[in-house]
Amino acid sequence: MATMVMNRVLRHESILGVLLVAALFVLSAQSEHFWTADNLLNQGRLMAEVGLIALPMTFVIVTGGIDLSVGSIFGLSAILLGVFWQNMGMPLPVAMLAAILVGAVAGLGNGFIITRFKVPPLIATLATLALYRGLAEGISQARSVRGYPEWFFQLGQGEVLGVPTQLWLLIVCFAIAAFILGMTTFGRTTYAIGSNEVAARFSGLKVDRAKLLIYGASGLISGLAAVIFVSRVSTTRSDMGTGYELDVITAVVLGGTSIFGGRGTIIGTGLGLILMQALKNGLALSGVKGDGTIVVIGAVLIAAILVGNLLSRDGD
């Protein structure tokens, strides 16, 4: 019994795993800098923010929804961190918590619009993408905040046992998310909503509550990622997080989660994330600048769904 399940679940993931190994080979052959502890750990540091947000995004997409506003919530939390600390004089730890809480509230706002007003997630989060970013811009008036205390940078630039702090955080959150989605009743509810929301409702599952929690978590984690990011780059600006939704959604979709809902795993998202980061690193090492990289990511997104469509037509 267990083997049948494993077979179904791991087919996409195994292809991904093979791809990943192949990519790692190519990249290490291409540049001697790639396969060094320094570089790998640094890549781990860089991908933490997108990685964290990709975790709740997996839940969102598995339910058949989407959250385009994660980048804007990211920016809003980043700005408010600066505002809470500098303009309002809160102690920094409190400001950090408050900024994360703002993210959660923003996410719950999304969830509320989606469940209470039945607005499709695409539209709701497109509107809040504008609204939250607009609030960030309006509040910050394009001023940036600097001068954070030294200990703050431990989070984004420091290490614990030689591994970047945020990478530990990512690993812990990854494990928790994988556990919830794969093993708990909440995870089952998530899959049920994505496969057939009506039947889930008719079976007594609390669909609206689940959605609220998922979108709220998406916002909360975006806020957390923002705090880490600020700690990493030492400053806050209102345009932070612009375009993050692309990276996050690509990682999730690349990992085998179906954009139509009902299928997907956290392990897959993890593999997709690593593959994407490897790709970015490889491009950077061959001298391609950041803008060229997003061209590739965009193409990867489209290609991933295309391949996913083809795969699901053979399988199942």
Partner: protein, 514 residues
Amino acid sequence: MNNLLEVSGVSKSFGPVKVLKGISFDVRPGEVHALLGENGAGKSTLIKIVAGVILPDEGEVRLEGKAVRFSSPREAAAHGIATVYQELLLFPDLTVAENIYLGHAPKTRWGTLDWNAMRAGARALLDALDSPDLDVDTPVGKLSVANRQRVEIAKALSQNAKLVIMDEPTAALADADARKLMEVVKRLRDRGVGIIYVSHRLPEIFALADRVTVLRDGTYVGTRPIGEVSESDLVSMMVGRAIDHLFPKAETTPGETVLEVKNLCYRNVVKDISFTLRAGEIVGIAGLVGSGRTETALTIFGITPATSGEIRIDGKPVTISSPDDARRLKIAYVPEDRGLQGLIRPQTVRENVSLAILDRIAKAFVVDRSREGSLARQAIERFGIRTRGPEQRVKQLSGGNQQKVVLAKWVATEPRVLIMDEPTRGIDVGAKAEIHALMSRLAGQGLAVLMISSELPEVLGMSDRVLVMRGGRIVGEFDHKDATPDAVGAAMTAAKLGASLESAPPGLTGAAAS
């Protein structure tokens, strides 16, 4: 007489299931030809073939003597075949005129749409259908169901149809509207149009049809002129065997009152419903489609919570505002639409069976896989589900076995009230008997069962008591021994006992329209 339509030896299979087995019948111009059969008999598939939606695997269709093979509905329409479906295929944001002419709108000299001609034409068609009150500029989304139906028929007329197929046209209409519709159908017939009229409502068929063809389990049973056949003849042609053999309802003495419903209302569809349900009994709810039975069930189950009235469990008043509430109160609902509401088709038997009791087979939120697995295996054995194992995807099972999975899911919640909505719809006869046996057994174990069904023989055979609903209200209650097809059928359609719909005095049917 030359036949308008001739169907010979038509067969169709969907995967391993043969849905139509060598059907032959014909339709003449200027006749209303009724097509009768239980759910799953193959009526929908047959009319889809005639309408050009799907192609037959074997057999031939001839239109006015010439063999035809339509590869699309548009092609069929171009040849003069129009269909009025049950799920109305209209565009809610476009106007009545535009809906009528969509796909074949009149054009001006320069090739642009001629709105004036469109509106004038629509007006003329609606007047021919005796609907002067319908405004051609109203968006269709704002019309009542009855009016939308008229737009659909006007659409068929606008294509100069020679053959019009109507699939359960009065299913969602109140009596007054249904009678008006029947007038429209008669006008169509008088114009020489041939009409295939698919309907469950026997009184209507007797009022309207010239001939009737009966299908059963995908086979052709027979065609009779309407004057040479009675209701019970038709029922036995549809069902195929004496009623008692099908329904193994054991005699039980009902126990305590479990569920009590008093003056239950939901908006305008559930009106002042009151009844009681006791442990061990099966209460059947009969009624035409649209009479409010499913709506009542959904209100009790919490999908559309009551706007007024009371529900009592074991004598204590309760509030049910969500399916979760209902579930906690040990109320279970096996829904009408198995595929959409009852099952998660891409998931396995194991996952579907445990869906309603996830919290109870979990330890600290973690789903206990081994308990889940044994639950599924037990269900497979107890309910006789024919499957390769708990890991098979539910969508690969037959209709009967899928229904058993839904039933198993709900029985796992250890309910005290079990509501079953159209329990054997779309299920082959063998599986039907199994489901009925299961229902009897569950009632015998002390469950209170509420059974909603559109199949009169099933209601009459399985129920200890029969409630009849019409227009959102309960209009009749019968004990098992008093529940005869005539009595129940009359209550369903508000016709005087023994008389057909046509000869019912206007006062009686007028009072029924609500």
